[in-house]
């Protein structure tokens, strides 16, 4: 039996201790917002927060997070400050229309949340260092950058599409 707190709720998990947190969240607790992408901590789709620290749940055995407080994408809104209950990062994600397929976005959002909790006004280099760990095959990176800047209250620059070319 392994005790951990997920999104503020305490759970006693009856899974083998070497079970990666990812599969315990998805298959045992039914929290499918955390995604499987690679299984070896290369893509960041499975990112969750341990306290304020982003961790790769696909390589973190549940025995390694015993007693810890974990936040998944489903729990992020519960702690959000906006009137909608959303975290400012989630709001910025909506405003910038970031998702394409959407599959990697939980990992992107939680990585950005952790970044901004550590550096509320991140430099370009800090943003780059944090976000480079999370893959997006659809190519949403330009908007990920804009959304992080927006959530931090920093200028986002111009839209990528110029005015139309008249024919």
């Amino acid at each position: 039996m392994i005790q951990l707190t997920v999104n503020g709720v305490s759970h006693d998990l009856e899974v083998p201790p070497d079970t990666p947190l990812l599969w315990a969240l998805r298959d045992t607790l039914g929290l499918t917002g955390t995604k499987y992408g690679c299984g070896v901590a290369l893509c960041g789709a499975c990112t969750v927060l341990r306290g304020d620290e982003p961790i790769r749940s696909c390589v973190e055995p549940v025995s390694g997070v015993e007693g810890a407080s974990i936040t998944t994408i489903e729990g992020l809104a519960l702690t959000g400050s906006a009137p909608t209950g959303l975290d400012p990062v989630q709001t910025a994600w909506l405003e910038e229309d970031v998702p394409q397929c959407g599959y990697c976005q939980a990992g992107q959002i939680l990585t950005a949340v952790a970044l901004l909790r550590r550096y509320p006004s991140p430099t370009d280099e800090q943003i780059e260092r944090a976000m480079t760990g999370v893959l997006c095959r659809c190519g949403t990176y330009h908007r990920v950058r804009r959304a992080v800047l927006r959530a931090a209250g920093l200028p986002t620059g111009r839209q990528a599409d110029s005015p139309e070319a008249r024919r």
Partner: protein, 741 residues
């Protein structure tokens, strides 16, 4: 402009419009329209020339529900298609709810995501549906007020009679409208009247995505479901000789081990042994413990190295299929002032969507439910029927939002496995492909070897053009009757019709290495060869690459185009995007030491694309791509936000392919096991991407694929401009070799 404008035609198709009362008492409008163009439909696998249906429901409270019939794979179709209906209906977008349809091709016609085809194929029916519903609501209001319908206007979900200042909401009119006959003439708006189309509208699933409540295929949970992973062949085409389930069954949580018997067509399902368990982790551990004995595949230990050598032999022979033979290339060469030849190579590419292949199925005596993240639910249903013997009508395919498609999910093999295993164990089964499975057992973009030879006249103008391609045909791989050349090389591609003597030849090299459709199909590789070669010719003749492209295109005119995005190729629209790209990309202005600009343009899926790449090569050969300007003429831009996203995404995937991506085959199997062996573009490697859309009133064509093909040649041409090194083989990689290959 000779292409027809969107608002030109008055549509009087009342026969196709069905009106009824919705369950809650509101208005239900269904529109059935035969697809106009079969030549386009046939260019996409699985697409039948058939009917397309749109369903709109207007409730008594004025809310509107629009059915989205196609799979959503990140291309934005679930938002863009209903947006067209909302525009014609004149309803506030915030009042619209979009409902994802299940598979029901009898009602909806072909339902798939492929060929950049969703908007184009549904454009007319979406407009008719919206305009018809609007006409009914106007008729209901006019009737109630005793005025002429022509005196009424609509705006933001209500009908108004300006002369008397009266106004009624759609909800108040819906029940009455449902009992009215369809008005005779329904005219969709003119593009100048659009309020929603062309604006930036966020994806309808975004709120669920950012909360983590959006369900993807792998998130499906069914009572009593088993999790399965499959031990897959060590070489392509290998079959199971024997297996010992004991060690796998000893893993706690493992409940069954089952052999999967492959189908004759290797794109339907291949041999494997599945481990089924009560959790994904137990299934993965069970697979580790499993012992399987395999036969060698029919071609044994194939490798990309051997294949390249074989390509180099076959390219010396005339092609087995002659796709085009205008004039006489041999004579053109004989009289030419100069003949220039170059070979180009492109590798196998994996799709690598972030959501690996998976599917959940529950087969019962009387039917079957399938929850499939697929681009082609009809294919899934067909395979399930073949496996289970159940009638297609009893097989429900519930389309799940798809975590990336890129062509991989046009096939249904992953779903066939789930169906097969559920049938075998009598319980619901979810099959998961690990990243290793997904990368090593993909259906890759075919590898190819191009030879191009051009005759130039005394002024350096191309007069003759030979293009010979040797590749591993994906149609041959699946024994498709269309023949090996189909969708490998396109008879009407540029410069066909622009040069008097043109010959396109194709040969395939048979292989067991699996191949399939990949974003932009073979245009991804062919444009690299052709657009690099155009650049080479321009430099050989001492001409400007943009000027020489414009000269090759010649006068604005329409040429027949028989493949994706036909039936016409308009040289004038292509010339226009080239000119705009040159202007926006600051073509011809100084760019600085160690830097270069490259140009490329390509037409596919009905959309015209021209791109300028700006790069830097450091003194020690390190390549950095700084900026890509992409100019597109896709007709009307429906949703500016997703259109821009498709350009950014298409360009980045094209850049990935240009710079890093290559599936290497060794000992009969792809070697990369994960993203360390198949690196994808990351956040810190992304150049500025500028998307420019040409203003247009022509009906919209797709954007999922067209931005991709020009990227690799634009970057390669920029490297030449900066360094004098010519890139003739992809991927380029990060370091530019000190001598040309």
């Amino acid at each position: 402009m000779s292409a027809r404008d969107a608002g030109e035609r008055v549509l009087t198709r009342r026969d196709f419009v069905k009106v009824g009362t919705a369950a809650g008492g509101g208005l239900l409008v269904a529109v059935t329209v035969p697809t106009a163009s079969t030549s386009l439909a046939k260019a996409v696998p699985g697409a039948e020339p058939t009917v397309i249906n749109v369903f709109i429901e207007i409730a008594l409270d004025g809310s509107v529900t629009i059915t989205a019939k196609n799979p959503e794979i990140g291309q934005g179709s679930k938002t863009a298609l209903p947006l067209v209906v909302a525009e014609e209906l004149d309803v506030e977008w915030s009042r619209v709810r979009v409902r994802q349809a299940d598979l029901d091709e009898r009602s909806y016609g072909a339902q798939f995501a492929g060929g950049s085809w969703g908007l184009r194929s549904s454009w007319d029916s979406l407009r008719i549906a919206g305009a018809s519903a609007r006409a009914l609501l106007v008729a209901a209001a006019a009737g109630r007020w005793g005025v002429d319908a022509a005196e009424c206007t609509t705006e933001a979900g209500s009908v108004a009679h300006p002369a008397t200042g009266r106004r009624l909401g759609y909800g108040e009119l819906a029940a009455e409208a449902a009992r009215l006959p369809m008005p005779r003439d329904v005219e969709p708006k003119r593009p100048s009247e659009y309020r929603l189309l062309g604006s930036r509208v966020p994806g309808v699933d975004n709120p669920a995505i950012v909360r983590g409540s959006q369900r993807f295929g792998l998130d499906v949970r069914v009572e009593g479901m088993l999790y399965a992973v499959v031990s897959r062949p060590p070489t392509y085409g290998a079959t199971v000789v024997d297996y010992d389930p004991e060690r796998a069954l000893a893993v706690p949580g493992v409940e069954a081990v089952r052999r999967i018997e492959g189908r004759p067509n290797p794109t339907h399902m291949v041999d494997g042994v599945a481990v089924l368990a009560n959790s994904t982790w137990a299934a993965l551990n069970g697979r580790e413990a499993l012992d399987v004995e395999w036969s060698p595949g029919p071609r044994g230990a194939e490798s990309t190295q051997d294949l390249r050598a074989r390509f180099a032999e076959v390219i010396e022979q005339p092609g087995r299929t002659i796709l085009r033979d205008d004039g006489d290339v041999a004579t053109a060469e004989a009289v030419a002032a100069q003949v220039i030849e170059a070979d180009y190579e492109v590798p196998f590419l994996a799709h690598a969507p972030m959501e690996p292949q998976n599917c959940t199925a529950h087969v019962r005596e009387d039917g079957c439910d399938i929850w499939a993240p697929t681009q082609s639910p009809g294919t899934v249903q067909q395979l399930a029927a073949a496996i289970t013997g159940l009638p297609r009508g009893s097989i429900a395919v519930h389309m799940q939002r798809v975590g990336g498609g890129f062509g991989r999910r046009l096939l249904g093999d992953y779903a066939a496995e789930a169906v097969y295993l559920s049938d075998a164990v009598g319980a619901p089964v979810q099959v998961l492909w690990t990243r290793d499975d997904d990368l090593r057992h993909g259906y890759y973009r075919p590898a190819g070897y191009h030879r191009l030879r051009a005759s130039l006249d005394r002024d350096g103008r191309p007069t003759g053009w030979l293009h010979r391609l040797v590749s591993t045909s994906r149609y041959e791989f699946r024994n498709d009757p269309a023949g090996p050349a189909a969708s490998e090389m396109y008879a009407d591609d540029f410069p066909a019709g622009c040069i008097p003597d043109v010959r396109y030849e194709y040969s395939s090299v048979p292989t067991s290495i699996p191949t399939g459709a990949w974003r932009a199909t073979l245009h991804s590789g062919n444009a690299f060869a052709v657009q690099s070669f155009v650049d080479e010719l321009a430099h050989a003749a001492g001409r400007d690459p943009v000027e020489s492209r414009l000269e090759m295109l010649g006068e604005p005119r329409e040429l027949p185009y028989g493949d994706h995005g036909g039936p016409l190729f308009d040289t004038g629209r292509m010339a226009h995007v080239i000119r705009v790209a040159a202007e926006r990309g600051e073509w011809g202005s100084p760019v600085g030491e160690g830097r270069g600009r490259g140009f490329a343009a390509h037409f596919t899926f009905g959309t015209y694309a021209a791109e300028v790449a700006e790069i830097t090569v450091s003194p020690d050969g390190e390549l950095r791509v700084d900026r890509i300007v992409a100019v597109l003429d896709c007709g009307i831009v429906v949703n500016r936000s997703s259109a821009e996203a498709q350009v950014q995404g298409g360009v980045l995937q094209g850049l990935d392919a240009a710079l890093h991506s290559e599936i290497v085959i060794e000992d009969g199997l792809a070697s990369p096991r994960n993203f360390d062996g198949y690196p994808l573009l990351r956040f810190n490697q992304v150049p500025d991407v500028e998307a420019v859309f040409v203003e247009s009133t022509v009906p919209p064509y797709g954007l999922g694929e067209p931005p991709l093909p020009p990227v690799a040649p634009a970057v390669a041409n920029a490297i030449f401009a900066a360094t004098g090194r010519r890139i003739r083989r992809l991927p380029i990689r990060r370091r530019i070799p000190s001598t040309s290959p």
